[in-house]
């Protein structure tokens, strides 16, 4: 009986101490708050179930993050599984930026930004806009982009983990970059 009480207290302590931290980490990396919440829940469940496997070698916090990162990789893999055909750079994704002779459309030509770039990096409103722009990407574009530029993973490794062809990987990543820049320009730097 006492064992159970003790366990519950410990479980509560873990959740109380680390769940918000894990949630924020996941939220930045997946599309919806619901998915982030599910990943955090799964993380705690896995951690609890494998409690024996944790022998205090690392801190509870880093152990939980290791598990969450593994769950995130599974999520990226699921999302990437939706890409079954070869993607073409010339598809509609980019067409709205360039005209038929492959020059910038007047509306898409990168502008001289009005807002200062360096001081923007210090503002939380800027990151809210950045976050919003990232959420406008297609889920699979966002997954590839996140792995590359937030997780800092190597391109070959990303292709391998997601089972993507290098050319599809490039198309996804490239489109994400072009769209993110345009979205930030419109919603922050030239708003």
């Amino acid at each position: 009986m006492e064992e159970t009480v003790k366990s519950q207290a410990e479980a509560s302590q873990w959740v109380y101490d680390y769940s918000d931290m894990l949630y924020r980490y996941a939220l930045q990396r997946v599309r919806s708050a619901e998915t982030a919440k599910d990943l955090v829940q799964d993380t705690f469940l896995s951690a609890w179930r494998n409690y024996e496997g944790y022998r205090g070698e690392a801190s509870v916090k880093s152990w939980l993050f290791v598990i969450l990162k593994r769950k995130l990789i599974d999520y990226y893999r699921r999302v990437a599984g939706t890409v079954t055909e070869a993607l073409d750079v010339d598809d509609a994704g980019e067409a709205r930026f360039f005209n038929r002779s492959d020059h910038w459309l007047r509306s898409a030509l990168p502008a001289v930004w009005r807002e200062d770039e360096e001081s923007s990096l210090e503002k939380s409103e800027f990151y809210a806009v950045l976050d919003g722009c990232k959420r406008k990407l297609k889920e699979v574009q966002s997954a590839v982009f996140t792995m590359k530029y937030m997780e800092d993973l190597d391109s070959d490794e990303i292709c391998k983990v997601l089972d993507l062809s290098p050319s599809n990987y490039w198309v996804l990543l490239h489109r994400a970059k072009v769209q993110l820049r345009a979205c930030l320009e419109m919603n922050w730097f030239m708003r």
């Binding site: 366990s7 519950q8 479980a11 509560s12 959740v15 109380y16 769940s19 918000d20 949630y23 924020r24 939220l27 930045q28 990396r29 919440k37 955090v40 829940q41 705690f44 469940l45 609890w48 750079v89 980019e94 930026f97 360039f98 002779s101 492959d102 020059h103 910038w104 030509l109 990168p110 502008a111 001289v112 930004w113 770039e117 923007s120 990096l121 939380s124 800027f126 990151y127 950045l130 976050d131 990232k134 982009f145 996140t146 530029y149 937030m150 997780e151 800092d152 391109s155 490039w170 990543l173 490239h174 970059k177 072009v178 993110l180 820049r181 930030l184 320009e185």
Partner: protein
């Protein structure tokens, strides 16, 4: 062809970040950026966006929290 169009230049900018350009493509891109202010801005702003995104990923507390109900649900799940 030593001259490339903007669409290709933008593609090359992406590839350059991964050092995936051939020597010929490097020269083509340099030449294009020399004559095209729009693509020069793209290259610079694109690098900035990637830097901002990295910083965003490293940023700490932005105030987002799970609700108390969510947390209780997680603990309950752990006890099952």
């Amino acid at each position: 062809m030593i001259f490339i169009h903007c669409r290709q230049a933008v593609d090359f900018v992406s590839k350059r970040e991964e050092l995936k350009l051939s020597r010929k493509e490097v020269i083509q891109l340099k030449l294009h950026l020399f004559i095209c202010a729009g693509c020069r801005r793209f290259a610079k702003q694109n690098a900035y966006v990637l830097r901002a995104m990295k910083r965003y990923g490293e940023k700490g507390d932005d105030g987002k929290r799970l609700t108390e109900g969510d947390k209780e649900g997680i603990v309950k799940g752990m006890m099952e």
